[in-house]
Symmetry: C2
């Protein structure tokens, strides 16, 4: 389905497009922001296709938060990388309890396809982010001509870090690299993940839970070099409360003989966009390197 352009905003020499489209996966209109760097826009009649970084947001966020506060456009404009900011859930399905919690339902889709009613109706953010959205964007007559759908990397924050790591591990070859800020790295063992997975998959089927857990997935990962960068702030209260558990992910990767994982503990940084803005240049560079831009 074609995209509606709701706003076009100049940013760091490129343009941020606030888009929406009707999703067949979620059954709702979906908002998404797309940043095109100046390199893509330099020759509008015959554009240079640029590689793409998909950024997955955390709990409660929309495409706006990171577009405004993450600072990814700063470095993306320099290296020539497009950035896609999807939403974090369907909006407006009006399911019972959909907006009752900030960490489940609206704004908290967890990048999984729910199997349990009523959520299975439209809470299918895994299929939306990994398949429908890129197919729609890369095939779009207006925006697809700027985007190289064969060169895509993925990143994300918190719940979106979980999304980035799991979609990367589940879809080998789909993304050229992965990075994450403060990811929920072992959701089956933390309160946020347990609440979400119980809701979306039911309490019983713990094997299904594991299929959406980065720490479980990395144990069976078939690749060699993970091409993964993870940053976690040591003053992050959610880290301290055991919601993120990056050590479990590191340990599982190490025990599985997986190489190419860098986890950095950033002294004094919290869970906020101030943390991400500080290191987003480096995450863009990580993707750019694996996308052939650096």
């Amino acid at each position: 389905m074609a995209f509606t352009t709701n706003a076009t905003i100049a940013s760091f020499g490129g343009k941020l497009f606030k888009l929406s489209h009707q999703s067949t996966t979620t059954g709702t209109p979906m908002a998404v922001n797309l940043y095109l760097p100046p390199q893509a826009l330099a020759n509008p009649t015959s554009p240079t296709k640029v590689p793409v970084l998909i950024y997955l947001s955390g709990l409660t966020c929309t495409p706006e938060n990171c577009s405004e506060k993450g600072f990814f456009q700063h470095r993306a404009s320099q290296v020539g990388l497009a950035v896609v900011y999807p939403d974090t859930s369907p909006r407006g399905l009006n399911l019972p309890g959909e907006t009752a919690s900030w960490d489940f339902g609206a704004g908290a889709g967890f990048y999984v396809d729910a199997t349990r009613a009523p959520w299975s109706a439209g809470y299918r953010m895994e299929s939306y982010v990994a398949r429908e959205l890129p197919a729609a964007l890369f095939g779009d007559p207006e925006y697809g001509r700027y985007l190289d759908g064969a060169r895509v990397s993925i990143t994300g924050h918190s719940m979106g870090g979980h999304g980035a790591l799991t979609l990367y591990l589940k879809n080998e070859g789909l993304y050229k690299s992965v990075s994450a800020f403060a990811p929920i790295a072992n959701p089956v063992n933390c309160p946020w993940g347990q609440k979400a997975f119980a809701g979306y998959f039911g309490e019983e089927d713990k094997e299904e839970w594991k299929r959406h857990d980065a720490t479980e997935l990395v144990k069976g990962w078939k690749g060699k070099d993970l091409k993964a960068l993870v940053d976690v702030g040591t003053a992050d209260n959610f880290y301290k409360q055991g919601q993120l558990l990056p050590e479990n992910f590191e340990k599982a990767a190490k025990e599985a003989g997986v190489t190419g994982l860098t986890v950095r503990y950033q002294e004094g940084y919290d869970h906020s966009y101030y943390f991400m803005a500080t290191f987003s240049d480096e995450h863009v560079d990580h993707a750019a390197k694996h996308l052939g831009l650096l």
Copy 2:
């Protein structure tokens, strides 16, 4: 009065402090954010005093908006500059009509000392920003030791651009340079300024109005080199609606023989923080140059 530290947030290698203090000028508690770059914090027992950039926000804003979305910290952390983000008005005076408009009263103090009741009671943001706040910060036992009160520049956005330009022109020598994003550069001739000045000074005393108008002030400016950088986006709706009038300011400066004013019209940029974030590095550099850092 001492500052209360409500939050300390790591940002670009330095720290952002969310402060509040009781102001004798406004008669209210005032919020202010202070960014200290890593250079200031490198040696806590005997800190290096760094110069200071005061950033004045636009209509409706608090100290948070630009701290989160302006990205001044990015370049300030590199050159070694502190940034101070004051609020835009007193809060909580409970004057009649104080919160009725988004462009007058709360969030819209216009960096003037009101002469008309009831606003004269506490809407004295000129005295607060130019005198009380710097005196309090630079003399503060905790934060003053990081700040070089003899090396201060000023900048701002929209209403804050008006504030920066007028405080700079009124207080020769107090600031080493000035810059502005999309400033309300001739408020006596635009709807925002006319509404605010009628409210704060009364309809009649047009001479008082002119004492707070950058275009009027620059006509009588006694200095030689203005050391001023102004950016305006050509897609800024408020610019197109005649709220900013930067051409009037340019013309007045030129006719008065004032040199050292650079006004840039940035193609396609709007009035938002996306615009500011794109050029804030350059505004930090402008200040840094005049503060002896570059």
